[in-house]
Amino acid sequence: MTLERTADVVVIGAGVQGCSIAYNLAKMGVKDVVVLEKGTICSGSTGRCGAGIRAQWGTEMNCRFGLAAVEKFEQLHEELGMDCGLNQSGYLMVAYKESEFDQLQKSMKLQNSLGIDTRVVSYSEAREICPGLAADDAVGFTFHNRDGHADPFLTTFAYMEAAKRLGVTFHRFTEVTDVKTVSGRIAGVVTNRGEIDAPVVVNAAGGYSQIIANMAGVRIPNFSERHEIIITEPVEPGVCPPMLMSFSGNYYIQQRPHGSIIGGCSPEGHPEDYEMGSSWDFLEMMSRTFIKLLPRTKGVRVVRQWSGLYNMTPDRQPILCEADNVKGFFLSCGYSGHGFMFGPISGELLTQLIIGQEPWIPIDMLHYSRFERGELLVEPAVV
């Protein structure tokens, strides 16, 4: 497919963010939307993620984003015409320290005030929710039954297919090598396959978004961090239906609908790089966590191990805004490990900003200028 010379909007990156933005733009009637992807669709972080979706957050903004995301996922199959593999078995949060349990309960109060029905559950109830669980060393649990996970590939492909039906063009193996600006306005992009002139360019390049921003002369403090993950062979369903998550325990573990169990944690020493290798240390540590938490998985085999990038910001909150020094240059990045679940909702909100509407959840605090002003949005609930 030859590359267009011009477009109304160029979206850089075809992960869940780029595909959701492209779909929402087309749905709102924007013509000539072109998505450029240096690899194949969903080959970045989205295709490597745990795909958990939750409303159990610790700040009002994240709770509102999280609840809106849950609600969007609940009707996504109908809206996009393709099954996204949504599985709502809840998130079971596990606290091993009193201070951690206090924080979970504080967050729960906030969540409840915003219409999220999180509740404290006892250890025996936790074992009913998660039959394979062994956590007698835990001090408390909270649970929200509408949390869950979806299939990251199917979700992204569903957005792409729906966007294509609305006239959006996708170019794979097309790498943006420069971003053109003219006196404080965006002018277009340069790629390995030619140039496209466009009055609006969206940076949805995930782990590479700081490189794209740099090309446009926009400074953002994002950096990329490698996170690893493993998956087992399929086992009988019902071992670990909910997502088990613990901040002090440093893990998230969940069973996929076809029976495999998937698990990850925050890396030690946080390797800041663009490498996506796999390590023995992680495999060993994660295997220990599995066996301790789900003793009946002892004889289960690990079939695959991989890694992907978290695009981090100093306050672990995303950047969702228009650049102030380059008009027409929009950013949706820095999701710091929770950008899959926010994809459907941030795509909608950024579209509203691009077409000049008021985003229905305010996003002004997600401008990158907060870092210069030192107004960080600190979220206590992240792994």
Binding site: L283, E284, S287, W306
Partner: protein, 93 residues
Amino acid sequence: MSGRQEDIVICRCEEITLGEIREWIAKGYETFDELKRVLRVGMGPCQGRGCREMILREISAKTGAPMADIDPGTFRPPAKPVKLAVLAEGGDK
């Protein structure tokens, strides 16, 4: 093409037929990694040992590219499935 041929199961681990593979190749999912993401082929316990060759041959037939030029997709560790208990003890590095 006879219906029977389309019903042949190519990826036994994930129970994916030749017909499904051809359908998605026709929709533009024409690399092994793209088929893997949409159909889960190659993600089973055998890690594609049982289906990769046949799928690459289908891609080659559809795109006209010689087998040698087709990207076989990413190979991910471990090379063979290993029990969690063995890995937790340090495995055999």
